[in-house]
Symmetry: D2
C-alpha cells in the first residue's frame, strides 16, 4: 500500500507533497490519531470547557483532567519531544509539526496531549540539561502528566527582550539560593495544579562576561515569599485557568540542588531552549488560522445572511478574500514546516534563522487572515458567537511571546549585514570581468557613480 | 485679542489652522473646558472607574453618577447636538468634533457629558422626528441625563447590514404594537439605568415598496416579554456596565403612541440618523489614538527599558514608527474634520460621502497606529498595564459598528460608478480634439486599441 | 451671487467646503481658467507632444513654445508664486494648490504656465534672496519665460540627503568662483533652452560650523568645464526634453557676483527653498492620481471588456477598489491642502511638519491608487496605451525627490521625540491625581509595573 | 561523499534542506554549472548586452549569439523541459527551479540557455501535442536554438483573460486557414530571429460548446498579411530586442497542416500549457529579487554614503528592512519550490492550485522587496545606475502576464467555495456532539444565533 493512499485522509488535506514523502508510517498513524482526537474529543467540547470554568476560573476543569487521562492512555502524550531524545515517543520535528497544526485548532487541545506551552519548552530543557536525579524529580512527573510547570524570565523593570538585562537577584549560599525580584508573565500560581517555576535570574552581576552572570533554577510554586500580585490579561482575556501572572520574589529560598546545569549557565540553557519550543506556537497557529478560515467559508454559504439578495460567498470580493486567506495560510505553513525540517536536518542551531523567520512572518500574516474572517461575520464577528476573537488574540500574543518581533527582526538583519562584505567583493569581481569584456568587444567601459 | 492667542492652549495643539479659523470664541471656551474636564476629572479616574465596577459589572459606578452631575452643572451636557436644533447648546459639527476628540481620550468620558453612543444618535433622532408629547416623555429626560436609551436594529437571522432585510415582526393594532423577534447588540437591559430601546422592526412585510415596510418605536426597557439572553462580549470585553445584549422579543406589547413619525417610516428616520451620529465614533477615535500615541512616546523615553543599552526611542526604527503614527493620526483627523465641516456647510445628505470616507478610513488607519503602540510595549503591551488593548478593541469595533466597512465601501463605489459615463464622454471629447490637433500639426493620429 | 454658485463648475467638483469658503472671486476665476486650459489645450495634446519629441528628444517641441506664449498672454504664468512676494500674480498657497492639482493632470501642463519644477522653487529662491541686479538678470527673464533654470544639489560621492555632506568644491577668489566636483540630477544641459544651474557647493570646508561651509551660486549652463556625462533615466524613462543629468564640474569658472546672498549662506537659502516648492510635486500628484482614477472608471464601463460576461465595473471587487481609490485620493488632497493653508496662515517654517507629512504620505498612498488603475487594465495597463506608467513613475520619483522619504520621516520622528518628556510629566501628574482620587473613594492604588 | 558536502557551494546557499535532499548528483552538477555560467558569463556582461543593442534595438546582439553557442556546447540548453518528456535533458521541475532562480539573476541569461519565455512554454506545448512531422519542423529547430517562437493569445477587443472570449477569426478551408483579427503582446516581428507565432483563434464561433470553438495554429512570422503595428512598451521599457507587439492579421493564409492537435482543440492545448511554463517567471523572479537584495546589502556598507555620520547599514531601520527583504524572498522561494515539487509528484493538473498560489503571491511580495532596494539607493535608485528599475518592471509585468492576478485569485476562490458545504456538514456534526456532551456533563446547551 503506497504512502499516498495511507494519506488519503483529511488530516493530510493540505500537507505539501514533500512533507508527505517524509512521513514514516508510524508518524502517519500518529497524525491520524491526533486528527481524530481533536475532531471528536476537542472541537465539540469547546463550550463544555468554557462552561466548566465559568465560575471557577483558576482550576483546571474536569473535562481537561478526563481528556488528559484518555489521551495518555492512547499514546498521545509528549509527541513534541524530538526523536533524538531518549525520552521521545519518536516523532521528528517535521512529523510533530503536522500534529501540532491539528492540535492548534482548539486552544487547550495541546494540553490534553501534554504538548502545551510552556510545558513543551520546559520538558525539552529538563531533558537536555538535568542530572538524573533532577530528571526523576521533575522531568518524569511532567512527562507523565502528574506535574505542571511554568517558565519565568520577563521582568517589568528592565528590557528583558535583551536577556543580559535580567536583574532578578539570586544569592547563592552553600546550601540554598535566595531570590529577590519581580517577574512578569509565567503561568498562574492561582492554579493549584501548577507545581514549579523554571526561573532565570542574575546570580553573579559583577562577572565581567555578561553571558556568565545568570542562573536557571527550579522554584516550587508554593515556596514562601513567592507571591502572585495579579493575573495579567491578554487583550482583556484572563486566559484562565492557566493565565499569566505578575510575581514578587521576596527572599524566596530554594535548595541549591535545584540549579540546572550549574550557576552562571543560564545562557547556555536559554540557547538550548531556543529550538523547537520556539515555533510550537507557530505550528499551532496554522491550525488556528485554518479554523478561522473554515468559519469564514461557512459564513460564505450561510443561508440566513443574504445582503442585497446574494449569499456572502457569491460576492466576488469575498471570493477574492477567501483565496487570499487560503494562499496566505498555505504559504505560512510552508515556512513553519521548512523550519521544522531544517532543525531535523541540521540541528537547532543551524535552524536559528528559519525559526526566526517563522516567529516573525507567521503571526503577522495570520493575524490578517483571522481579522478578515472576523470582518466577514460583521457585527457578530467580534462577539463570543465564534472563537475568532480568541484565535486573533492568540496570534497577536505570539508577536510578543519570546520577545517582540522587532527584536527577532534585528537579529536576522544583523546576521545578514555580516554577509554584505562578501557580496561587495563579488560585485567588484563582476566589474573587473566587465572591463575585460569591454576590451574583447571593443567598448568603452561605463562608470556608474557611487555604484561598485 | 486674536483668535490665535485665544488658542494658545494644549487643547488646540494639533488643530489645523483652517479649523482654528472657524472656531467661534464661544466654542473655543467650550473646547478648553472639555479639555480641562477630561485631563483633570477623567484620565486620572480611569482606574477608579475600573475598581468600582470590578465586582458589580452591570451598574453605573458612583464616579459616573458624580461626574455626570458635575459636568451638567458646568454646562458640558449634550454638546454634540448640532446648532440647527433648537435644543442645541450651540456648537457646529466642526466645533463639536474638537470636543469629541478630547472626550474620546477616555472611553467613558463622553458619558459624563451625555455625549456617548448611542445616546447622541438617539437624541438627534428624537429631536428630529418626535411629536411634542414624545419629546416631553423621552427627549427631555434623555437630555437632562435622567434617562438612558439604547438603539436596536441588528438581527441574528438576516443580513441586517442591508436594512431592508430586517424581519423582527411588529403587529400594529388599534392601540398597541405587538413585537416578536430576535435582536443583537443594543445596550444591556441588565443595567438598571437603561430606560428605553429605540427599535426598528417590520410592520408591513407585504408592502410592495420595501422602503415602506418598517417602523421605529420606543420600547420601555422593562416591558414584559423583552428578555436579554446574554451579554455580547467584544473581543472578550464585556463592555460593562453598558454592554451589548442579545434579545428575544416575545409578544412584547407597546402602546401605539410610542411609534415615531408613523408606521412604515423607519427608513425616513434611519436616513436622518445617518448624520453626525455616524462619525462621533471616528471623532472620539482620534482622541483614543492620540492616547495610544502618547503612551508610545512615553515608552520611548522609559529609563528602565534599554535594550542593547539604548532607550527605545533612540532606535531609529522607532523614530520612524513614531513619525508614521503621528502623520497617520493627523491625516485621519483631517478626514473627520472635513466630514464634520461638510455637514455644517451642506447638510447631512451632502455629507454622506465624507461620512462614509471617515467611517471606512479612520478606524482602519488608526488600528495600525494603536497596534504599533502596543507592540512598542512588548510583552506588557497586551496586558491591562496600559489602556491600549481597550483602545484597540474600540477601534476594531468601529469597523463593524453601523455595518461592516465593506458595506460602506460598496455604497461609495456604486455611487462613483454612476459617474463613469460622464468621464467617458469627456474622454471621447479629448480624442476628438486630438484628431483636430493632428491635422493642425500634420501628424497621423494614433489609435490605442481598446482605449477611448 | 453666492460663492457657492460661482463654484458650480467641474473645477471644484472635489474641492472640500472649507477650501471653497476661502477662495476669493479672483482665485475662483483663475482656477476655472486653469481648468479650461488643461482640459482643452493640454490633455488632448498629450500625444502631439509625444509625437513632436519622438525623434528629437532634447529640444522643447513646438507645441510647448506655442502654448507657453498663449498661456502667458492669458495671464496664466507664475501662479505658484505666493502672494506675499511683490512679483506674485496674487494667489495664496491654498488657492494655487487648486490650480496645481489641475495642472498636474498632464505632466508638462505646468510648464505651459511656467509653474514646473524646478522653475518654481528656483524663482521663489531668487525672488527671496537675490539683489536687484541679480533679479534683473535671472528672476525677470525666468518669470517672463525667456530663460530656463535647473537646480543642482545631489552628489554621487556622498550622502547628500544630509546636505552638510555636500562636497563639490568652490574656491572663491577675488573675482570668481572655481568649481570642481560631480553632481547628479538637475535638468539636462542637452536641452538648449536651459540657461542656468543654481548650484550648491562647499566653499569653506574647514569652517567649524558645518552650516556655514556651503555657498549657492548661479552657473550659466554652457560655462566651459561643465559637462553632462549622460542623461539619467527614471525607471527607464528619459524624461525628455528636460531630463536629468550627471555632471562633471572641471575647473568651471563663474563670476563672483553670481553668488546668491553671500558665501557660506547656502543653508539659509536651502531653508528658504523648503517652502511651497517642496509640495508642488504633491499638489500635482493629486491631479495625476485623479487622471489614473478616471482611466480606471472608464475601464470599468468599457463595453469590449466583459470577463465572464460582466463589465469590469460590475464585479463588486472592482466596486470596492474604485471606492478605495476615490477615498485615498480625497484624503491625500486634504493633507496637501492643509499644508498649503498652514503655510498661508503661519509661514513656511511653521508649515515644516505639514510639508513633510505631505511629502511622505501623498506619493506612497497615491502609488497604490495608480498601481491599482494599471492592474485594472490587465495586460494593457503597463503599455503606452495609457499614461498610467508615466503617472506611476512620476509618483515614484516624488518618493526620492528632495531626499528619500525615510530622511523626512526621521526628521519628523526626531522632532516628535522632543515632546516625549512633556507628555511623561503630564502622565506623572495623572498618577498623582489618581492617588488622590483613591483616597477620596477609599481604594487601594494599583501600581502597574514599568508604566508611569 | 555525502550529498551535503556536494552542495557546499554558493549555488545552494539558500536552498532549503528538503530540496537539497531531493537533488540528484546529476542535477547538483547542472545547478553548479548554471551558477558558474551566470556568475562568470552573464552578470559581468550585462552592460555589454546593453551597449550592443543601444543603436540596434531589434536585433539579437552578438553576445547573445556567442553565449547561446557556448551554452549549448556545455549542455546547458533546454534544462526546463521536465524529465517525463523524451526530449528532456533530464531534470525534474524541482531541480530546474534551482537552475531557473540562478538564471533569473540576469534578464537575458535564460535565453543563453534556451530557457526563456515564451520559448519554454512553446517547446513544452509542441513536445506534448505535435505530430512527428510537426515536431521535426518546429520542435527540433527550437530545441536546437535554430529557430525562435512567440505565443499570441491576448486581444485588444475582448477580455481575453477569459479565453472563451477570444475572437480572432480563423476560417478553415480544405487546405488552409485564413486568419483575420487583432492581437496584443507576443514577441516582436521586428526581430528577424523570430520565426513563428503560435496563435490561438476562433475557428468555430457557433459551436454550442464554448470550449470547442478555438484552434491553435503555427503562423510563420513573415506570412503576408501579418503586420506589427507598433512595439508595446512595458512601463516605458521597449524590452528590446525581443519586445512585445501589436498585430493585425489581415487575411493571413497558413497551411492547414500547421494546426496543432486539430481544429477546435485549443483549450485542450491551453490546459496543457498551464503547467511549469506558468511559474518559470516566478522561479526567475526569485533570482531577480536576490539580485535586488544583494544590491541593497552592498549599499548598506557603501563607504561613501554616510548620512548623519553612519553607514546606511548601521541604521537599525535598515537592519530591519534587510531582515524583511531576506525573509520575504525566502518564503516566496518556498512557495515556488513547493509548486514545482507538487507538479513532479502529482502532475500539472494536481499542481494547479500551487501554480496559481505562486503566480499570485510571488510577484506581489517581491515587488515590495525590490521597491525597498530602490528606495535604499535614494535618488540613484530609480536611474540606470543599477538594474533595479528593470528588475522591478519585470516583477510588475508578471502580475499581468498570463492574466491579471485578480483572475487567478478568482479561480482559486471559486474552487475553495466548493469546499464550503463539506465544512458546514462537519460543523453540524460538531454541534451534534456538543449536545451529547452537554448531556454527559449536565449542562444546558448554548445556542449562538446565526452560527452553525
Amino acid at each position: 500500500m503506497s504512502s499516498e493512499s495511507l494519506m488519503d485522509h483529511p488530516a493530510f488535506a493540505r500537507t505539501p507533497p514533500w512533507v508527505k514523502a517524509k512521513l514514516r508510517p508510524f508518524a502517519i498513524e500518529k497524525i491520524k490519531q491526533v486528527y481524530e482526537w481533536v475532531e471528536t474529543e476537542c472541537i465539540p467540547a469547546e463550550r463544555i470547557f468554557k462552561a466548566q470554568i465559568k465560575d471557577n476560573r483558576w482550576k483546571n476543569p474536569p473535562i481537561i483532567h478526563e481528556l488528559r487521562q484518555k489521551a495518555k492512555a492512547q499514546g498521545l502524550f509528549n509527541l513534541f519531544l524530538p526523536n533524538h531524545f531518549k525520552e521521545s515517543p519518536g516523532l521528528t520535528n517535521l512529523e510533530y509539526s503536522c500534529c501540532a497544526e491539528i492540535m492548534g485548532k482548539v486552544y487547550w487541545a495541546p494540553q490534553t496531549m501534554n504538548c502545551h506551552a510552556p510545558e513543551t519548552g520546559n520538558i525539552e530543557l529538563l531533558a537536555k540539561y538535568c542530572s538524573p536525579e533532577q530528571k526523576k524529580k521533575w522531568l518524569e512527573p511532567l512527562m507523565n502528566g502528574e506535574m505542571s510547570s511554568a517558565y519565568s524570565m520577563t521582568e517589568p523593570d528592565v528590557a528583558s527582550s535583551d536577556a543580559t538585562n535580567i536583574a532578578c537577584s539570586m544569592k547563592i549560599t552553600d546550601t540554598e539560593v535566595i531570590i529577590n525580584g519581580r517577574k512578569l508573565y509565567a503561568n498562574c500560581q492561582y492554579n493549584e495544579d501548577l507545581n514549579i517555576y523554571i526561573l532565570m535570574g542574575c546570580s553573579d552581576p559583577e562577572n565581567p562576561n555578561p553571558w556568565n552572570r545568570h542562573t536557571t533554577i527550579v522554584v516550587p510554586a508554593r515556596t514562601p515569599g513567592l507571591k502572585q500580585v495579579r493575573n495579567l490579561t491578554i487583550m482583556g482575556f484572563d486566559c484562565a485557568p492557566e493565565g499569566h501572572g505578575e510575581y514578587i520574589y521576596d527572599n524566596v529560598r530554594v535548595p541549591k540542588e535545584n540549579i540546572i546545569l550549574g550557576p552562571g549557565r543560564a545562557f547556555e540553557i536559554a540557547q538550548g531552549r531556543l529550538g523547537p519550543g520556539r515555533i510550537h506556537h507557530c505550528m499551532r497557529l496554522i491550525g488556528q488560522a485554518e479554523r478561522a478560515y473554515e468559519l469564514a467559508l461557512v459564513r460564505c454559504i450561510e443561508p440566513r445572511k443574504k445582503p442585497r439578495g446574494k449569499l456572502i460567498g457569491q460576492f466576488d470580493s469575498n471570493i477574492e478574500r477567501i483565496a487570499d486567506m487560503r494562499m496566505t495560510i498555505d504559504s505560512m505553513r510552508l515556512v513553519v514546516l521548512n523550519a521544522a525540517d531544517t532543525m531535523d536536518y541540521a540541528g537547532n542551531k543551524a535552524g536559528k534563522y528559519a525559526i526566526a523567520q517563522s516567529k516573525i512572518l507567521v503571526p503577522n500574516a495570520l493575524l490578517k487572515v483571522i481579522d478578515e474572517a472576523m470582518q466577514m461575520y460583521g457585527g457578530q464577528g467580534l462577539t463570543q458567537h465564534t472563537p475568532l476573537p480568541e484565535i486573533w488574540t492568540y496570534a497577536r500574543f505570539v508577536r510578543v511571546a519570546d520577545g517582540p518581533d522587532a527584536a527577532h527582526r534585528h537579529q536576522v538583519g544583523r546576521d545578514q549585514m555580516k554577509t554584505a562584505q562578501g557580496v561587495r567583493t563579488r560585485f567588484e569581481e563582476y566589474t573587473r570581468k566587465y572591463q575585460e569584456l569591454c576590451k574583447k568587444w571593443e567598448l568603452e567601459p561605463e562608470e556608474f557613480w557611487g555604484i561598485v
